[in-house]
Each structure stands twice: as C-alpha cells, then as structure tokens.
Symmetry: C2
Subunit: 270 residues, 2 copies
C-alpha cells in the first residue's frame, strides 16, 4: 500500500499544533478529551493585570490543584513555552467570558474583547495523568462509562492569596488496591499535572459525605474491594475565580482545553 | 568542651563495621534494631550448594519478599560488596542452625560448623525502609509501642523454584491516608528492601481474616480513619526454607541481623 493513498488523518495522529490550527480556523469547537494523544492539555484562565498578581500567588501557594504550566506577559496573547505561534485568543475550541462572576458569553474566539492588560495562565490538567494511568493498564471508570470524572468540594481550605480563596476541589477515581498503589507511583512522577493523590479511602475525612452526589461531573459506582482515590483538581482555581468575581475574566469552556506542543512524557520527573 | 574528653560513643554514632566488630568479639549478642543508624541491615540465609541454586532462583522470582543484596561464592564466608572484612560466620549477634527443618542450636559464632559447600544469601530488611518512613515523619505504631511489626501469611502464593515454595508473608503498618500515600512514594524508591506495598485497605482480599491475630510478630491497634498498609516481608523466604527442610541451614536469629557497610540512602533509586 502506498502511503500517498491514505487520508492524512491515517498517516499520523494529530498533534497539539493540528488541534490549535483547527480551533483557530473555526473548524473545531468541541471538547478536546482524547484529541492529540500524548500532548499536554491545559486549563486556561485570563485575568486583568490588577487581579493577576493575586492569582499568581494563589497558584504558587496551592501547587497541587493549580500547577502552573505557563504565565504570559500582560497584554501578550502568546505563550511560546507551550507552542510555537500559539495564540490564546483563538487556539481553544471555545471560551467562557465572565463579568463580575457572571457568565456573559461563550465565544470561539476572544480576539474582539482582547485588552492590553490581560494576563493568561495555563494550569495542568488531569488528562495528562489519566493518559499515564491508562498506559499502565489502570482502568478509569468514568472513561469506561463515557462520563465526566466526579468532583467534590472538600473541607480542606486552599491557602488564600489576596482576593482568591476557597475549598480544595478533588476528582475521584475508584481503584483496586494494587491499581491505587501503582497510580500513586505513576502520578507522583507528574507534579505538573496535579501529582500524587491528596487522599485515599475515607471520603468523610475530607468533608465528602456522599460519593453519589458529586459537586461537579458525574457519579460513578464504586465496587466492593475498591478504594476511592482523590486527586487535587483544576476546578479549584476556577471556583476561586468564580467566588472572587473579578470585573472581567476569560476561561476555557468546560472540557475545551488548550492543547499544547508539550508532550505528557516530558512532564515526567523521572 | 574538648572532644577528647568525650567517651568514644559520644563522639560518633556506631557504624556497621563497629557493630560487626562487637559481634565478632562476643561483646554483643542482641537484636540489632536501631543500631548503626543509616546502615543497611540484612536477613541471612546460608544453605548447602545443592540447595542454593533453587533458593537463588526462588529469590530472583520473588524480588519483593526476597530482595537479594548479596550472594557468596560456595564455601566463602566473605561478602566484600557488603563490608570490608565482613565474615558471615562471626559478624552477626546470634544465629539459628537448622537440620532437616528442626532448630538444633542458637550459637553466636558458626565457625565450628562451617563447610566448604555453604552459600550465604543476604536479603534486604524492612529496617531500611522504616528508617526512611520515620525520617519522613510517618509514625510507625509497632515502634511507638515497642513491639514487633505484625506479619501475616497471605493467600498469595510465591512463585515456586525447585523445592522452595509457600505463601507470601506480609508485614502491616496502619497509617492515616496522607501518610500511606507518602509511604508508597518513599518505599517505591527502595526496591532493594521490599519496595512499595503489595496491598492497602482490604486484609480479607489477601487472605488475612483477623488483623488482631498475626502469624508472626505482635498485633497493633488500627485507629478509625487509618488504612492497613501491607509490605512483602523477609519472613517469606525464611518460611520457604522451613517448609523445604534442607538437611542443613543457618539463618540469623530473629531480630539479630547482619549490619553492613552500605548506607540506606545508597539503596534509594532516586
């Protein structure tokens, strides 16, 4: 078979750059889960400069829920450390625009509302460590069930910074004990995408009274002989922004992440 | 204060070599737990050459319960990789001598019964990883309680090799969830001394029906909100030797380990 007879999509898997190009052109505006396998995806938060310093300190003080992959210069829409030619105004599938904590729009391009005081933050996302878990043959129930991971607000307070504060939000994955041990090893290598779990075994000890009623995402069943394993979640900074109600903010739309040129394997400590 | 006025024992902590010298001279014949902090201690098993090949294969096939630190040449009592001048016949506090699976003596020196077909095996011991756990401020209940760690025969079979077979024996340490996660990280770095846990959370899943009745060692209480964490244990090869009943064998007496010149920190993978 001659490779020139294959459709381009069969010759190679799409890269992060491919996904960004499709977003920028307007041809793609959906969730990015499973796209560009191997490439790091990130949460996006864009804030005015006079809120950005507090938020940067908030991320620094809470590295497990808010592992910062990159921060832009004020007014600059590029993040060269994450991708050649990357433009945060156009390269995500869809955005959410917030004013004083209220959702005011869900555009696919935020160029029209760009300002020269906006600072962009990209925060690591669980897609990266889930890929590593699947590569280690650790089943993930929410993926098997085709739903979102269940997430819970805990009774663990984040370290506040200026106007940003709030509870740690965690995601939960039920696992057999041997898989839980392996998952701790695998995610320990990945501090840039939430790292090792923050809790295992006793939901009520972290203020989660009913695993069947997640605060975000979808409930998943826990089988006999499985432990609930909890990771710090990127919804934590989103919830802190929502509570702080800055006059203006832009975030990614749920599930519509920034796909970068970084490879997940590059994030591994060892 | 002039250091020359201090007793030698106050000037520096004893080394592995110091402990071996005291054993060899007959001045010390007790348990080695807590002696020569920082130095690797090991389980000793000495078998005739015609049993040694099976045992070497048994250790190789079961690296978590039987992490081999060193194997001697047949007939040679030295193990230069573990210590300059180390002589396994004299350098442990106390031995056990076995004939056809029966205990026939507990001498402090096995030179009189040495044979030119004996092969010595030194197997890593949990003292090394417990030191690492304590350095990470993870409390160990059996140490706080001044008793032995509880150990259990599981329903997990070891990989048999020739005449050696039997169940995996595990040690159990109760831990708070955050400590359990940290303990998995810390012991993952130490595969030469049993490595990461083999189970967490559900004793019955590995055939342990009553944590209050250990097969070896002493029961310890588990508090509310704690998980039982199980590590592969060096009693596994001892039990396999006892079951195989070789015509002649020498082991360390319980708790009376070989103290080496290796440092625990040297064993850490990273």
């Amino acid at each position: 078979m001659d490779a020139s007879n294959l459709a381009p999509s069969l010759i190679r898997m799409p890269t992060g750059c491919d996904v960004r190009r499709e977003c920028r052109s307007g041809r793609f505006d959906g969730p990015t889960a499973g796209l560009a396998p191997g490439y790091v995806q990130g949460n996006l938060a864009i804030l005015p400069r006079d809120w950005a310093d507090d938020f940067l300190r908030f991320c620094h003080a809470n590295p497990k829920p808010c592992p910062l992959l990159a921060v832009s210069e004020a007014g600059s829409p590029v993040l060269p450390a994450l991708g050649a030619g990357l433009d945060v105004r156009t390269d995500l599938p869809r955005y959410r625009v917030w004013e004083h904590g209220k959702l005011v729009g869900s555009p696919t391009d935020v160029t029209p509302m760009w300002r020269d005081d906006l600072v962009s933050f990209v925060i690591g996302c669980s897609f990266s460590f889930e890929e590593a878990l699947l590569q280690n043959d650790i089943p993930l129930r929410h993926i098997a069930g085709g739903c979102n991971v269940p997430m819970y607000r805990t009774n663990i307070a984040t370290q506040s910074a200026g106007r940003f504060h709030g509870p740690l939000v965690v995601s939960m994955r039920p696992m057999k004990p041997a898989d839980a041990i392996r998952a701790i090893q695998v995610t320990t290598r990945l501090p840039a995408v939430h790292g090792a779990p923050v809790h295992i075994g006793f939901p009520e000890a972290i203020g989660v009274s009913d695993l069947g009623k997640p605060d975000y995402g979808d409930a998943v069943p826990i089988e006999a002989g499985e432990l609930p394993v909890f990771w710090a979640c990127g919804v934590t900074p989103q919830a802190a922004i929502a509570a702080a109600k800055p006059p203006f903010a832009i975030t990614h739309a749920p599930g519509c992440m920034l796909v970068t040129d970084l490879k997940n394997n590059q994030l591994s400590l060892f």
